[in-house]
């Protein structure tokens, strides 16, 4: 059983401040990936522990309201299971499609979700900035 934890990782904090600049050096954290690595997410993570065979998918990004107007970033995206049937226990939000460039912004680990080939999973990832 994987711990159900979510962290905006340390690189994610850098992505946030970069995106506030007039000319950000990096891209938006809009690419969703999933995997089978069950080690609980930590702030030091830079990649998924064991990414799946599936390509990252681009999510739809919106601003949402949780406590204060527009205090929450939401990314929604769907990934279809390919490769082999199995349990998904981690997902992440990245700045690029390619696994060799860009940064991990957020990683989550959770209890197993068993998928067959051809099943799809829609992730809704929310990050609330109002922590006052």
């Amino acid at each position: 059983m994987a711990a159900d934890v979510v962290y905006v990782v340390n690189n994610g904090l850098a992505v946030t401040t970069d995106r506030l600049l007039n000319a950000p050096a990096g891209n938006q954290p809009q690419w969703i990936d999933m995997g089978t690595g069950s080690a609980a997410a930590t702030v030091l993570d830079t990649v998924l522990e064991t990414p799946g065979a599936e390509a990252r998918t681009v999510g739809e990004m919106t601003q949402e309201t949780t406590s204060t107007a527009d205090d929450t970033l939401q990314v929604v995206g769907t990934i279809e299971k390919t490769g082999a049937p199995g349990a998904i226990v981690e997902c992440g939000l990245f700045t690029h499609l390619s696994s060799t460039t860009g940064f991990l912004y957020l990683r989550a680990t959770f209890d197993a979700i068993n998928l067959q080939i051809g099943d799809s999973i829609e992730f809704t990832i929310q990050v609330q900035y109002d922590q006052a």
Partner: protein, 63 residues
């Protein structure tokens, strides 16, 4: 001494639902992050049970 406000790390939450190849939608609710409600926990348990049952029926080897 001036008071310095410390901003906590932003909080993340992840919700999910599975769309089976035959079109059946299985809601899991919030699967990670703080503030999982009883309703979400039940949705997650029921959804995973349904997925596990289908997985066995379809011949998979999940966790």
């Amino acid at each position: 001494m001036a008071h310095v406000a410390k901003q906590k790390r932003p909080e993340g939450r992840v919700s999910a639902r599975v769309i089976k190849a035959n079109g059946e939608v299985i809601e899991l609710g919030q699967i990670a992050g703080p503030g999982i409600t009883r309703a979400d926990a039940k949705k997650g348990r029921d959804g995973r049970k349904r997925l596990n049952d289908l997985f066995k029926k379809e011949g998979g080897h999940g966790r």
